[in-house]
Symmetry: C2
Subunit: 434 residues, 2 copies
């Protein structure tokens, strides 16, 4: 963990180093992934069966390619009531937040009488990747499936590895709630390739989303353009801006809620009180050994954690913008939180006030928890219904509106050396001469 | 040119072949591009100067790195009045259409008292690539710059090669109208690398858009994730659905307006009248030799053109959806155009009625002419202001709303094996025990 003080002479350089830290893995899997994709394109289901046998020790042909909707419904029914209610509440709130995101169509006439507009439609099919093992989070299943469902996608496909045949009942229950249409027991880059290019068994989709390991992420990157993808995901981060009216151990737990995800996660505290900074750091050290994610938290906090003392909390905001964090907590009085938030330029999701822990946003708040990481909040946004939709613009002219704007198009086509463009407009301007 | 008839026994296979045609170049420039990007990252301006000397025969150090705003203003003033007025009209209409796209922020309370919302902000800086030579279209300059300007981007950078020092005065005039802040005389993959990573002279940007050759397109693909990009662009296409009340030579010119762009462009006519189909094909053959883009049109039409006879025009729509064309003309009576459009699922931009040539949309209609190509209208949309913006979601809870939804978050965190997440919420639920 780094402790920085903005009043120290070396602060600018130290903060630059922190902001420019590249926590992403340098392992280059692009060649391996390209080979997997090429083989799935060439051999289809045979390649999927072979990779699945090899990587997941699971024979798709004898043990079954897919998980049925009925199995998911049964998993949902078998959940402990408290957990089932929690998933239902999360789904209800995620649906409501995303339904309000549905874009409005436009259809209007301008001053020339030209009719213009834009119309949104869902994509035909979406594929959601769900990791097996440690990172298989039912909350992520909901966060990916529900925006597609709310968008109106008619076919939603889930791909998930089931190593040694193992399935996660809570993930299956979430798939049931999310209304998935197909679940294939295929993971890794080969699953992404199947979604993008299709196989005999698995029809291709139009958009691929969902978290995954380095192979999955690289595969999504390589099929980008063949299909739409949600984003390039990197290690996640939280920045907490807190005053000394917070309990140190409460803020410490917030920082650790990010640190427990992965050793590459980053947790940073900005505060205007050096004693509070030290108290939080001490609380972090005290909490780590008490939780069973201790090894991950320890590594993340040691390598990437930071506690930064600033003269005033307002001074933290431009520094925070440099980090463009995935998550930002403004743990101060409500009015001050609003004032600070008004100055924030770059953050994926912001949590206002002392009673709004980031972890709420991971589960039940409603906004999507799939957010831009690794400074990408500078230019990208959390997952939304529009990631599963596309916009078609349209135009209708009559004689009058064509006469009003057509000659300018002819002039510009001429200047660009495109005579057929000019002719196509001019033909209609001179209808009497046809 | 292929002539297909939906009533022929071999039609399904022939149409499949047409729809699956991959017109994109197979030239693999990815290794070359990766080397250029790596060198620009390592050597910065030195690399830019060297590549520019080599590829554009232009010495940046002695002849100047940039084109000034004053030069652009002078180019604008020097334009022929008709052309200047045409550019001004185009800009005014593009601005108006895109201003109406500006997304609304959300800020509301739900039934628990939780405050939720989303806030949009422009990115800090955008870079627009503008090709030199044949494909340097002032209309594209406006179509890329104005959405960024309307979005509120504070720094807009243009990169354009000036081979042998040559500049295009209409492009410079368009840059003036678009309100560009910097223009650098750098092109190719090296320009994209400079935008993404920055050099001593050129500060990095957050989003890179604009058309370019295979090197530029591959460079954008490789820097995707470091910056946002508009899209992966492929060869463009037009589909015209027309009845026999159109003049054949008018529809022929529409088809050729796409064919003159590039030999890989594709122009396809659907009609319900075989005689009309033949008349259009004859008109195409007649027009080609009369225009100075004849060689390009000839190659595009011969290789990629198609005339398809369908029993009714409604039968064309599902076929058209398979093609997901960049541009779709519905050259029929207005009411029929509306009815057909209601059935269209996949198209970048649609032109309704006999008096709405696609070429109007390239210049002065208002909607963006940067559109998804190569079947990507299945999942992606034309360039818009939101490509230069990002959304930050936010949440504020009080004791009551946290009490309402917090326990569900604790339950889900427990099920996912993330104890620090659970602790971070539970700490605040049990304030009395702190």
């Amino acid at each position: 963990m780094r402790r920085l003080d903005a009043s120290d002479p070396g602060f600018a350089a130290a903060f630059d180093a922190l902001a420019n830290d590249r926590r992403e893995s340098d392992t280059d899997v692009s060649t391996d992934v390209a080979a997997i994709i090429a083989r799935v394109k060439a051999e289809g289901d045979v390649a999927l069966a072979d990779y699945t046998a090899r990587f997941d020790r699971f024979d798709l042909e004898t043990r079954g390619w897919s998980i049925s909707k009925e199995e998911c419904a049964a998993a949902y029914e078998a959940l402990a009531p408290e957990l089932r209610d929690a998933l239902d509440l999360a789904a209800e709130r995620i649906r409501a937040y995303h339904a309000a995101q549905l874009p409005e169509d436009r259809d209007y006439r301008d001053g020339t009488g030209a009719r213009l507009g834009a119309r949104w439609r869902a994509v035909d099919a979406a594929g959601v990747y769900v990791p097996g093992g440690r990172a298989a989070y039912p909350s992520s299943v909901l966060m990916n499936l529900l925006p597609a469902k709310v968008a109106g996608v008619e076919r939603i496909v889930m791909m998930t590895p089931t190593p040694d045949g193992e399935t996660n009942p809570v993930v299956m229950a979430a798939a049931h709630i999310g209304g998935v249409d197909e679940i294939w027991r295929v993971g890794g880059a080969q699953a992404v390739a199947a979604l993008a290019y299709g196989t005999t068994k698995i029809a291709p989709v139009d958009v691929v989303t969902g978290p995954g390991n380095a192979w999955v992420a690289e595969a999504k990157r390589q099929v980008y353009g063949v299909v739409g993808i949600d984003m390039v995901a990197g290690p996640s981060e939280i920045v907490v801006v807190a005053d000394n009216k917070n309990e140190p151990h409460v803020i410490a737990a917030d920082l650790l809620s990010q640190a427990e995800h992965d050793p590459t996660s980053q947790s940073i505290l900005f505060t205007d009180d050096g004693d509070f900074a030290d108290a939080v750091a001490a609380a972090v050290a005290g909490i780590i050994p008490t939780l069973n994610t201790a090894p991950t938290m320890q590594e993340s906090w040691a390598d990437n954690g930071a506690v930064i003392v600033v003269p005033t909390l307002a001074d933290a905001i431009p520094l925070c913008d440099r980090l463009a964090p995935e998550h930002l907590e403004l743990a101060v009085d409500p009015a001050e939180a609003d004032a600070l938030f008004a100055k924030v330029r770059h953050a994926g999701s912001v949590f206002l006030g002392r009673q709004t822990p980031e972890a709420i946003g991971d589960y039940v708040a409603g906004p999507n928890h799939v957010l831009p990481t690794g400074r990408r909040a500078r230019f990208s946004s959390g997952l939304s219904v529009t990631d599963f939709m596309k916009r078609t613009s349209f135009l209708a002219l009559d004689d009058a509106s064509l006469a009003a704007i057509g000659p300018a198009a002819v002039a510009l086509a001429g200047a660009e050396g495109l005579p057929a463009h000019a002719l196509s407009v001019a033909n209609r301007l001179n209808k009497d001469s046809l």
